[in-house]
Protein backbone atom coordinates (compact mmCIF):
# COMPACT_ATOMS: atom_id res chain seq x y z
CA UNK A 1 0.00 0.00 0.00
CA UNK A 2 2.78 2.28 1.02
CA UNK A 3 4.62 1.43 -2.20
CA UNK A 4 1.64 2.38 -4.31
CA UNK A 5 1.27 5.63 -2.49
CA UNK A 6 4.91 6.50 -3.08
CA UNK A 7 4.66 5.58 -6.69
CA UNK A 8 1.55 7.68 -7.05
CA UNK A 9 3.16 10.76 -5.45
CA UNK A 10 6.31 10.37 -7.51
CA UNK A 11 4.33 10.15 -10.74
CA UNK A 12 2.20 13.06 -9.68
CA UNK A 13 5.13 15.30 -8.75
CA UNK A 14 6.89 14.36 -11.96
CA UNK A 15 3.86 15.31 -13.94
CA UNK A 16 3.70 18.57 -12.04
CA UNK A 17 7.29 19.19 -13.06
CA UNK A 18 6.42 18.42 -16.61
CA UNK A 19 3.60 20.94 -16.58
CA UNK A 20 5.83 23.57 -14.98
CA UNK A 21 8.45 22.91 -17.61
CA UNK A 22 5.89 23.34 -20.36
CA UNK A 23 4.81 26.65 -18.85
CA UNK A 24 8.43 27.75 -18.61
CA UNK A 25 9.09 26.88 -22.25
CA UNK A 26 5.96 28.80 -23.17
CA UNK A 27 7.22 31.83 -21.25
CA UNK A 28 10.59 31.59 -23.04
CA UNK A 29 8.80 31.42 -26.35
CA UNK A 30 6.71 34.47 -25.57
CA UNK A 31 9.10 36.60 -23.53
CA UNK A 32 12.26 37.53 -25.38
CA UNK A 33 13.55 40.49 -23.40
CA UNK A 34 12.59 41.71 -19.94
CA UNK A 35 13.95 44.78 -18.19
CA UNK A 36 12.95 45.24 -14.58
CA UNK A 37 13.82 48.53 -12.86
CA UNK A 38 17.10 48.88 -14.69
CA UNK A 39 19.40 51.78 -13.85
CA UNK A 40 22.65 52.53 -15.58
CA UNK A 41 25.14 55.04 -14.24
CA UNK A 42 28.24 55.76 -16.27
CA UNK A 43 31.35 57.27 -14.77
CA UNK A 44 31.12 60.66 -13.06
CA UNK A 45 27.54 60.05 -11.93
CA UNK A 46 26.03 60.35 -15.35
CA UNK A 47 22.66 58.65 -15.15
CA UNK A 48 22.17 57.10 -18.58
CA UNK A 49 19.09 55.04 -17.76
CA UNK A 50 16.63 55.47 -14.94
CA UNK A 51 14.19 52.83 -13.74
CA UNK A 52 13.61 51.18 -17.11
CA UNK A 53 11.00 48.43 -17.13
CA UNK A 54 9.57 46.76 -20.21
CA UNK A 55 8.91 43.41 -21.88
CA UNK A 56 9.44 42.51 -25.49
CA UNK A 57 7.68 39.40 -26.73
CA UNK A 58 8.50 36.97 -29.43
CA UNK A 59 7.81 38.23 -32.91
CA UNK A 60 7.49 41.85 -31.89
CA UNK A 61 8.94 44.80 -33.78
CA UNK A 62 9.83 47.52 -31.30
CA UNK A 63 11.28 50.96 -31.90
CA UNK A 64 13.28 52.62 -29.16
CA UNK A 65 13.10 56.32 -30.01
CA UNK A 66 14.60 59.40 -28.54
CA UNK A 67 17.10 62.15 -29.15
CA UNK A 68 20.83 61.55 -29.20
CA UNK A 69 22.13 60.65 -25.76
CA UNK A 70 18.75 59.51 -24.49
CA UNK A 71 20.08 56.04 -23.73
CA UNK A 72 18.86 54.07 -26.76
CA UNK A 73 22.20 52.48 -27.51
CA UNK A 74 22.72 51.74 -23.83
CA UNK A 75 19.53 49.65 -23.79
CA UNK A 76 20.77 47.64 -26.78
CA UNK A 77 24.19 47.19 -25.21
CA UNK A 78 22.55 45.92 -22.03
CA UNK A 79 20.62 43.35 -24.07
CA UNK A 80 23.74 41.82 -25.62
CA UNK A 81 25.72 42.32 -22.42
CA UNK A 82 28.05 44.88 -23.89
CA UNK A 83 27.38 46.81 -20.70
CA UNK A 84 26.36 45.83 -17.17
CA UNK A 85 23.37 47.50 -15.49
CA UNK A 86 24.15 49.40 -12.29
CA UNK A 87 20.98 47.97 -10.74
CA UNK A 88 17.85 46.13 -11.78
CA UNK A 89 17.53 42.85 -13.61
CA UNK A 90 17.60 41.93 -17.28
CA UNK A 91 16.36 38.71 -18.77
CA UNK A 92 17.15 37.78 -22.35
CA UNK A 93 16.01 34.47 -23.87
CA UNK A 94 15.19 33.13 -20.41
CA UNK A 95 18.65 33.93 -19.18
CA UNK A 96 19.22 36.20 -16.21
CA UNK A 97 22.11 38.27 -17.56
CA UNK A 98 23.46 39.02 -14.08
CA UNK A 99 24.08 35.28 -13.67
CA UNK A 100 25.67 34.91 -17.10
CA UNK A 101 29.40 34.33 -16.78
CA UNK A 102 32.04 35.85 -19.07
CA UNK A 103 32.49 32.70 -21.10
CA UNK A 104 28.73 32.53 -21.63
CA UNK A 105 28.60 35.90 -23.40
CA UNK A 106 29.69 34.58 -26.83
CA UNK A 107 26.94 31.97 -26.64
CA UNK A 108 24.34 34.65 -25.90
CA UNK A 109 25.57 36.80 -28.78
CA UNK A 110 25.31 33.92 -31.21
CA UNK A 111 21.55 33.97 -30.65
CA UNK A 112 21.33 37.70 -31.21
CA UNK A 113 22.04 39.55 -34.46
CA UNK A 114 23.34 43.10 -34.13
CA UNK A 115 23.63 45.83 -36.76
CA UNK A 116 25.03 49.34 -36.34
CA UNK A 117 24.96 52.77 -37.89
CA UNK A 118 28.59 52.39 -39.02
CA UNK A 119 28.02 48.79 -40.28
CA UNK A 120 31.14 47.43 -38.53
CA UNK A 121 32.32 45.27 -41.40
CA UNK A 122 35.83 43.85 -41.62
CA UNK A 123 37.43 46.00 -44.29
CA UNK A 124 40.00 43.45 -45.42
CA UNK A 125 37.43 40.79 -46.24
CA UNK A 126 34.99 40.39 -49.08
CA UNK A 127 31.25 40.59 -48.60
CA UNK A 128 31.02 36.80 -48.57
CA UNK A 129 33.85 36.40 -46.06
CA UNK A 130 32.28 38.98 -43.78
CA UNK A 131 29.04 37.02 -43.67
CA UNK A 132 30.74 33.61 -43.45
CA UNK A 133 32.77 34.86 -40.51
CA UNK A 134 29.69 34.84 -38.28
CA UNK A 135 29.29 31.12 -39.02
CA UNK A 136 32.97 30.22 -38.69
CA UNK A 137 32.94 31.61 -35.19
CA UNK A 138 30.60 28.79 -34.20
CA UNK A 139 32.57 26.12 -36.09
CA UNK A 140 29.76 25.49 -38.58
CA UNK A 141 30.62 22.54 -40.85
CA UNK A 142 31.66 23.78 -44.35
CA UNK A 143 28.72 22.24 -46.17
CA UNK A 144 26.12 23.85 -43.90
CA UNK A 145 28.08 27.07 -44.06
CA UNK A 146 27.91 27.25 -47.88
CA UNK A 147 24.22 26.43 -47.89
CA UNK A 148 23.33 29.00 -45.25
CA UNK A 149 25.53 31.62 -46.90
CA UNK A 150 23.89 31.13 -50.30
CA UNK A 151 20.40 31.33 -48.80
CA UNK A 152 21.10 34.52 -46.92
CA UNK A 153 22.88 36.31 -49.77
CA UNK A 154 20.11 35.38 -52.19
CA UNK A 155 17.46 36.58 -49.77
CA UNK A 156 19.14 39.98 -49.49
CA UNK A 157 19.99 40.16 -53.24
CA UNK A 158 23.71 40.32 -52.54
CA UNK A 159 24.90 37.22 -54.43
CA UNK A 160 26.21 39.15 -57.44
CA UNK A 161 28.50 41.25 -55.24
CA UNK A 162 29.84 38.54 -52.99
CA UNK A 163 33.45 39.12 -54.02
CA UNK A 164 33.32 42.89 -53.44
CA UNK A 165 35.07 44.51 -50.51
CA UNK A 166 33.09 46.80 -48.18
CA UNK A 167 34.71 49.94 -49.62
CA UNK A 168 33.41 48.99 -53.06
CA UNK A 169 29.81 48.98 -51.82
CA UNK A 170 27.32 51.77 -51.19
CA UNK A 171 26.13 52.54 -47.67
CA UNK A 172 22.83 50.76 -48.22
CA UNK A 173 24.63 47.68 -49.52
CA UNK A 174 27.06 47.66 -46.62
CA UNK A 175 24.16 47.75 -44.20
CA UNK A 176 22.61 44.83 -46.08
CA UNK A 177 25.87 42.91 -45.60
CA UNK A 178 25.71 43.67 -41.90
CA UNK A 179 22.10 42.40 -41.86
CA UNK A 180 23.20 39.27 -43.74
CA UNK A 181 25.92 38.67 -41.17
CA UNK A 182 23.37 39.03 -38.37
CA UNK A 183 20.77 36.92 -40.14
CA UNK A 184 22.93 34.05 -41.33
CA UNK A 185 22.75 32.38 -37.94
CA UNK A 186 18.96 32.59 -37.63
CA UNK A 187 18.98 34.79 -34.53
CA UNK A 188 16.05 34.93 -32.13
CA UNK A 189 16.51 38.66 -31.76
CA UNK A 190 17.82 41.28 -34.18
CA UNK A 191 19.11 44.47 -32.59
CA UNK A 192 19.53 47.49 -34.85
CA UNK A 193 21.28 50.59 -33.53
CA UNK A 194 20.41 53.53 -35.81
CA UNK A 195 20.72 51.29 -38.86
CA UNK A 196 19.59 54.08 -41.19
CA UNK A 197 21.65 56.85 -39.58
CA UNK A 198 24.17 57.00 -42.41
CA UNK A 199 21.80 56.30 -45.29
CA UNK A 200 19.71 58.34 -47.69
CA UNK A 201 15.92 58.18 -47.64
CA UNK A 202 15.59 55.44 -50.25
CA UNK A 203 18.20 53.14 -48.74
CA UNK A 204 16.70 53.77 -45.30
CA UNK A 205 13.31 52.66 -46.55
CA UNK A 206 14.93 49.55 -48.10
CA UNK A 207 16.56 48.64 -44.82
CA UNK A 208 13.32 49.18 -42.89
CA UNK A 209 11.47 46.97 -45.37
CA UNK A 210 14.06 44.24 -44.94
CA UNK A 211 13.78 44.48 -41.15
CA UNK A 212 10.00 44.31 -41.39
CA UNK A 213 10.23 41.23 -43.57
CA UNK A 214 12.65 39.56 -41.19
CA UNK A 215 10.22 40.34 -38.38
CA UNK A 216 7.34 38.97 -40.42
CA UNK A 217 9.21 35.68 -40.65
CA UNK A 218 9.29 35.49 -36.85
CA UNK A 219 12.45 37.19 -35.60
CA UNK A 220 12.03 39.73 -32.84
CA UNK A 221 13.43 43.08 -33.97
CA UNK A 222 14.47 45.91 -31.67
CA UNK A 223 15.51 49.06 -33.47
CA UNK A 224 16.91 52.21 -31.90
CA UNK A 225 16.45 55.40 -33.90
CA UNK A 226 16.02 59.15 -33.53
CA UNK A 227 14.12 59.40 -36.81
CA UNK A 228 10.52 59.85 -35.68
CA UNK A 229 9.06 60.33 -39.14
CA UNK A 230 10.35 56.91 -40.13
CA UNK A 231 8.79 55.34 -37.04
CA UNK A 232 5.42 56.99 -37.64
CA UNK A 233 5.23 55.54 -41.13
CA UNK A 234 5.73 51.98 -39.93
CA UNK A 235 3.19 51.95 -37.08
CA UNK A 236 4.86 49.51 -34.72
CA UNK A 237 5.26 49.54 -30.98
CA UNK A 238 7.40 52.44 -29.81
CA UNK A 239 9.29 52.97 -26.55
CA UNK A 240 10.15 56.63 -26.24
CA UNK A 241 13.18 57.62 -24.21
CA UNK A 242 14.11 61.10 -23.08
CA UNK A 243 17.06 61.66 -20.78
CA UNK A 244 17.23 58.01 -19.79
CA UNK A 245 13.53 57.69 -18.88
CA UNK A 246 10.54 56.33 -20.73
CA UNK A 247 8.09 59.05 -21.66
CA UNK A 248 5.22 57.20 -23.26
CA UNK A 249 4.71 53.75 -24.59
CA UNK A 250 2.58 53.44 -27.69
Amino acid sequence: MRYWRELYTSVFTNREHLILDRIRILIIIILMITFDGVNKVYQKDWLALQDITFNINKGEFVFICGPTGAGKSTILKLIYKGEEPTSGSINVLDQDLSLLKKNGIPKLRRKIGIIFQDFKLLQDRTLEENVAFALEVTNTPPRNLRKKLMETLTYLHLSHKKFSYPYQLSGGEQQKVAIARALVRDPYILLADEPTGNLDAKSSQDIINILLDINYKGTTVVMATHNLSLVKKVKKRMLRLVGGKFVTEK
Partner: protein
Protein backbone atom coordinates in the same frame (compact mmCIF):
# COMPACT_ATOMS: atom_id res chain seq x y z
CA UNK B 1 38.79 22.74 -35.81
CA UNK B 2 38.94 26.22 -34.30
CA UNK B 3 42.75 25.92 -34.21
CA UNK B 4 42.76 25.31 -37.95
CA UNK B 5 40.52 28.33 -38.57
CA UNK B 6 42.60 30.37 -36.13
CA UNK B 7 45.81 29.60 -38.00
CA UNK B 8 44.12 30.33 -41.32
CA UNK B 9 42.93 33.66 -39.90
CA UNK B 10 46.47 34.40 -38.73
CA UNK B 11 47.86 33.61 -42.19
CA UNK B 12 45.23 35.85 -43.71
CA UNK B 13 46.15 38.84 -41.57
CA UNK B 14 49.85 38.26 -42.24
CA UNK B 15 49.24 38.33 -45.98
CA UNK B 16 46.79 41.24 -45.95
CA UNK B 17 48.00 43.53 -43.15
CA UNK B 18 51.53 42.96 -44.26
CA UNK B 19 52.87 46.49 -43.71
CA UNK B 20 51.98 46.31 -40.04
CA UNK B 21 53.25 42.75 -39.80
CA UNK B 22 56.58 43.57 -41.43
CA UNK B 23 57.04 46.67 -39.33
CA UNK B 24 56.81 44.73 -36.11
CA UNK B 25 58.79 41.83 -37.62
CA UNK B 26 61.55 44.34 -38.39
CA UNK B 27 61.51 45.64 -34.82
CA UNK B 28 61.57 42.10 -33.40
CA UNK B 29 64.47 41.10 -35.69
CA UNK B 30 66.56 44.17 -34.91
CA UNK B 31 65.93 43.90 -31.17
CA UNK B 32 66.88 40.22 -31.12
CA UNK B 33 69.94 40.98 -33.25
CA UNK B 34 71.03 43.58 -30.71
CA UNK B 35 70.55 41.00 -27.99
CA UNK B 36 72.51 38.33 -29.90
CA UNK B 37 75.30 40.79 -30.57
CA UNK B 38 75.66 41.56 -26.92
CA UNK B 39 75.40 37.90 -26.01
CA UNK B 40 78.21 37.28 -28.51
CA UNK B 41 80.39 39.89 -26.78
CA UNK B 42 79.58 38.35 -23.40
CA UNK B 43 80.31 34.80 -24.58
CA UNK B 44 83.66 35.90 -25.98
CA UNK B 45 84.52 37.78 -22.85
CA UNK B 46 83.80 34.68 -20.79
CA UNK B 47 85.76 32.43 -23.09
CA UNK B 48 88.70 34.86 -22.94
CA UNK B 49 88.56 34.98 -19.16
CA UNK B 50 88.41 31.18 -19.10
CA UNK B 51 91.45 30.87 -21.33
CA UNK B 52 93.34 33.34 -19.14
CA UNK B 53 92.29 31.45 -16.06
CA UNK B 54 93.47 28.16 -17.55
CA UNK B 55 96.84 29.72 -18.16
CA UNK B 56 97.35 30.40 -14.47
CA UNK B 57 99.77 27.60 -13.60
CA UNK B 58 103.17 26.92 -12.09
CA UNK B 59 106.03 25.83 -14.28
CA UNK B 60 108.77 23.91 -12.55
CA UNK B 61 112.14 23.52 -14.35
CA UNK B 62 113.88 20.28 -13.58
CA UNK B 63 117.49 19.27 -13.02
CA UNK B 64 118.90 16.86 -15.51
CA UNK B 65 118.50 13.14 -14.78
CA UNK B 66 115.57 13.66 -12.45
CA UNK B 67 113.15 10.78 -11.97
CA UNK B 68 110.14 12.45 -13.48
CA UNK B 69 107.58 9.84 -12.42
CA UNK B 70 108.50 10.03 -8.75
CA UNK B 71 108.55 13.81 -8.80
CA UNK B 72 105.21 13.91 -10.57
CA UNK B 73 103.55 11.69 -8.00
CA UNK B 74 105.07 13.73 -5.17
CA UNK B 75 103.78 16.98 -6.63
CA UNK B 76 100.32 15.49 -7.13
CA UNK B 77 100.22 14.78 -3.40
CA UNK B 78 100.37 18.51 -2.62
CA UNK B 79 96.85 19.77 -1.90
CA UNK B 80 95.61 22.19 -4.54
CA UNK B 81 97.38 20.50 -7.44
CA UNK B 82 94.97 19.00 -9.95
CA UNK B 83 97.23 17.89 -12.78
CA UNK B 84 100.92 17.71 -13.74
CA UNK B 85 102.08 17.65 -17.35
CA UNK B 86 105.65 16.71 -18.29
CA UNK B 87 107.29 18.75 -21.06
CA UNK B 88 110.49 17.17 -22.38
CA UNK B 89 113.33 19.41 -23.67
CA UNK B 90 112.48 18.30 -27.23
CA UNK B 91 108.85 19.22 -26.78
CA UNK B 92 109.85 22.56 -25.29
CA UNK B 93 112.08 23.28 -28.30
CA UNK B 94 109.24 22.37 -30.68
CA UNK B 95 106.85 24.70 -28.84
CA UNK B 96 109.38 27.47 -28.92
CA UNK B 97 109.97 26.99 -32.62
CA UNK B 98 106.28 27.25 -33.36
CA UNK B 99 106.02 30.38 -31.24
CA UNK B 100 109.02 32.02 -32.90
CA UNK B 101 108.07 31.21 -36.47
CA UNK B 102 109.66 34.29 -37.97
CA UNK B 103 112.87 34.28 -35.95
CA UNK B 104 113.78 30.60 -36.04
CA UNK B 105 117.31 31.42 -37.06
CA UNK B 106 117.90 32.59 -33.50
CA UNK B 107 117.77 28.94 -32.44
CA UNK B 108 120.36 27.86 -34.96
CA UNK B 109 122.97 29.58 -32.76
CA UNK B 110 122.71 26.66 -30.36
CA UNK B 111 124.28 23.37 -31.23
CA UNK B 112 122.49 21.39 -28.53
CA UNK B 113 119.07 21.86 -27.14
CA UNK B 114 119.54 24.46 -24.37
CA UNK B 115 116.10 24.02 -22.86
CA UNK B 116 115.56 22.08 -19.61
CA UNK B 117 112.75 19.61 -19.03
CA UNK B 118 109.79 21.10 -17.15
CA UNK B 119 106.52 20.28 -15.44
CA UNK B 120 103.37 22.32 -15.97
CA UNK B 121 101.39 22.20 -12.76
CA UNK B 122 97.65 22.87 -12.97
CA UNK B 123 95.98 24.18 -9.85
CA UNK B 124 92.64 24.03 -8.11
CA UNK B 125 90.50 27.18 -8.62
CA UNK B 126 90.94 28.12 -4.96
CA UNK B 127 94.73 28.44 -5.32
CA UNK B 128 94.71 30.62 -8.43
CA UNK B 129 95.79 33.75 -6.59
CA UNK B 130 99.07 35.20 -5.30
CA UNK B 131 98.87 33.50 -1.90
CA UNK B 132 97.96 30.10 -3.32
CA UNK B 133 100.62 30.24 -6.02
CA UNK B 134 103.34 31.21 -3.52
CA UNK B 135 102.31 28.50 -1.06
CA UNK B 136 102.31 25.67 -3.62
CA UNK B 137 105.39 26.95 -5.38
CA UNK B 138 107.40 26.98 -2.13
CA UNK B 139 106.32 23.38 -1.44
CA UNK B 140 107.41 22.29 -4.92
CA UNK B 141 110.79 23.99 -4.54
CA UNK B 142 111.51 21.77 -1.51
CA UNK B 143 111.27 18.64 -3.65
CA UNK B 144 114.44 17.05 -5.00
CA UNK B 145 115.04 17.61 -8.74
CA UNK B 146 113.28 20.99 -9.04
CA UNK B 147 115.67 23.72 -10.06
CA UNK B 148 113.31 26.67 -10.29
CA UNK B 149 109.62 27.58 -10.45
CA UNK B 150 107.89 30.45 -12.24
CA UNK B 151 104.36 31.77 -11.97
CA UNK B 152 102.38 34.94 -12.71
CA UNK B 153 102.66 36.42 -9.24
CA UNK B 154 100.91 39.71 -8.54
CA UNK B 155 99.85 40.04 -12.14
CA UNK B 156 97.34 37.24 -11.53
CA UNK B 157 95.49 39.23 -8.86
CA UNK B 158 95.43 42.36 -10.99
CA UNK B 159 94.08 40.41 -13.93
CA UNK B 160 91.39 38.80 -11.79
CA UNK B 161 90.30 42.16 -10.44
CA UNK B 162 89.97 43.61 -13.94
CA UNK B 163 88.09 40.63 -15.37
CA UNK B 164 85.72 40.66 -12.39
CA UNK B 165 84.86 44.32 -12.94
CA UNK B 166 84.36 43.79 -16.66
CA UNK B 167 82.17 40.76 -16.04
CA UNK B 168 79.90 42.56 -13.57
CA UNK B 169 79.61 45.53 -15.91
CA UNK B 170 78.82 43.24 -18.80
CA UNK B 171 76.13 41.32 -16.94
CA UNK B 172 74.51 44.58 -15.83
CA UNK B 173 74.48 45.86 -19.39
CA UNK B 174 73.13 42.53 -20.66
CA UNK B 175 70.24 42.70 -18.19
CA UNK B 176 69.41 46.24 -19.27
CA UNK B 177 69.48 45.20 -22.92
CA UNK B 178 67.30 42.15 -22.28
CA UNK B 179 64.72 44.29 -20.45
CA UNK B 180 64.67 46.97 -23.14
CA UNK B 181 64.38 44.37 -25.90
CA UNK B 182 61.40 42.79 -24.12
CA UNK B 183 59.87 46.23 -23.63
CA UNK B 184 60.33 47.27 -27.27
CA UNK B 185 58.97 43.98 -28.62
CA UNK B 186 55.95 44.04 -26.29
CA UNK B 187 55.16 47.64 -27.14
CA UNK B 188 55.38 47.03 -30.88
CA UNK B 189 53.12 43.99 -30.72
CA UNK B 190 50.72 45.96 -28.54
CA UNK B 191 50.56 48.76 -31.12
CA UNK B 192 49.86 46.37 -33.97
CA UNK B 193 47.08 44.74 -31.97
CA UNK B 194 45.61 48.11 -30.93
CA UNK B 195 45.54 49.10 -34.59
CA UNK B 196 43.12 46.25 -35.09
CA UNK B 197 40.87 46.89 -32.11
CA UNK B 198 37.76 47.35 -34.29
CA UNK B 199 38.39 43.94 -35.77
CA UNK B 200 38.50 42.44 -32.29
CA UNK B 201 35.34 44.34 -31.34
CA UNK B 202 33.50 42.95 -34.38
CA UNK B 203 34.68 39.44 -33.57
CA UNK B 204 33.29 39.80 -30.07
CA UNK B 205 29.97 41.17 -31.34
CA UNK B 206 29.37 38.19 -33.62
CA UNK B 207 29.98 35.90 -30.67
CA UNK B 208 33.58 34.77 -31.16
CA UNK B 209 34.93 33.11 -28.04
CA UNK B 210 38.09 34.56 -26.49
CA UNK B 211 40.20 31.65 -27.69
CA UNK B 212 38.88 32.08 -31.23
CA UNK B 213 40.02 35.71 -31.15
CA UNK B 214 43.32 34.94 -29.45
CA UNK B 215 44.54 32.11 -31.71
CA UNK B 216 45.21 34.18 -34.87
CA UNK B 217 46.96 36.91 -32.91
CA UNK B 218 49.06 34.45 -30.94
CA UNK B 219 49.92 32.61 -34.14
CA UNK B 220 51.03 35.89 -35.68
CA UNK B 221 53.17 36.64 -32.65
CA UNK B 222 54.71 33.17 -32.92
CA UNK B 223 55.51 33.56 -36.64
CA UNK B 224 56.87 37.04 -36.06
CA UNK B 225 59.09 35.86 -33.24
CA UNK B 226 60.33 32.83 -35.17
CA UNK B 227 61.17 34.72 -38.38
CA UNK B 228 62.56 37.62 -36.34
CA UNK B 229 64.79 35.18 -34.46
CA UNK B 230 66.02 33.62 -37.73
CA UNK B 231 66.81 37.03 -39.22
CA UNK B 232 68.62 38.04 -36.03
CA UNK B 233 70.65 34.81 -36.21
CA UNK B 234 71.55 35.41 -39.87
CA UNK B 235 72.70 38.94 -39.04
CA UNK B 236 74.76 37.58 -36.15
CA UNK B 237 76.44 35.02 -38.42
CA UNK B 238 77.37 37.81 -40.85
CA UNK B 239 78.73 39.89 -37.98
CA UNK B 240 80.83 36.96 -36.77
CA UNK B 241 82.25 36.49 -40.28
CA UNK B 242 83.27 40.14 -40.31
CA UNK B 243 84.64 39.94 -36.78
CA UNK B 244 86.76 36.87 -37.62
CA UNK B 245 88.66 38.90 -40.22
CA UNK B 246 89.64 41.31 -37.45
CA UNK B 247 90.13 39.14 -34.39
CA UNK B 248 91.03 35.78 -35.98
CA UNK B 249 89.51 33.90 -33.07
CA UNK B 250 85.84 34.47 -32.23
CA UNK B 251 83.99 32.19 -29.86
CA UNK B 252 80.58 31.55 -31.45
CA UNK B 253 78.53 28.52 -30.34
CA UNK B 254 76.41 28.62 -33.50
CA UNK B 255 73.62 26.20 -32.59
CA UNK B 256 73.12 27.68 -29.17
CA UNK B 257 72.73 31.12 -30.72
CA UNK B 258 70.23 29.82 -33.27
CA UNK B 259 68.24 27.99 -30.62
CA UNK B 260 68.21 30.87 -28.17
CA UNK B 261 67.37 33.63 -30.65
CA UNK B 262 64.51 31.66 -32.21
CA UNK B 263 63.21 30.42 -28.86
CA UNK B 264 63.32 33.87 -27.29
CA UNK B 265 61.66 35.36 -30.38
CA UNK B 266 58.83 32.83 -30.22
CA UNK B 267 58.49 33.28 -26.47
CA UNK B 268 58.44 37.08 -26.63
CA UNK B 269 56.01 36.95 -29.58
CA UNK B 270 53.53 34.68 -27.86
CA UNK B 271 53.73 36.34 -24.46
CA UNK B 272 53.69 39.83 -26.01
CA UNK B 273 50.54 39.20 -28.01
CA UNK B 274 48.79 37.44 -25.13
CA UNK B 275 49.56 40.33 -22.77
CA UNK B 276 48.34 42.91 -25.29
CA UNK B 277 45.18 40.90 -26.03
CA UNK B 278 44.28 40.54 -22.38
CA UNK B 279 43.05 44.14 -22.33
CA UNK B 280 40.51 43.36 -25.06
CA UNK B 281 39.38 40.00 -23.80
CA UNK B 282 38.41 41.02 -20.29
Amino acid sequence: MSLRIGIREGMRTISRNNSLFFLSLFVVAISLFLLSLFALVTANLYSFVKILNDKIEIIAFLDEHTNVEVLKSNILKISGVTNVIYISPEQALKDLKSELEETQEVLTVFENNPLPASLRIKLHEKYKNVGGLEEISSKILLLRGVRETIYGGELVDELKKITNIITIFDIGLLLIIILSVIFVIFQTIKLTIFARSTEIEIMKLVGASNSFIAIPFTFEGLVQGMIGGLIAFALTVITVQVAISFFSNVYFPRWWFLLISVASGVLFGIIGSSVALRRFLK
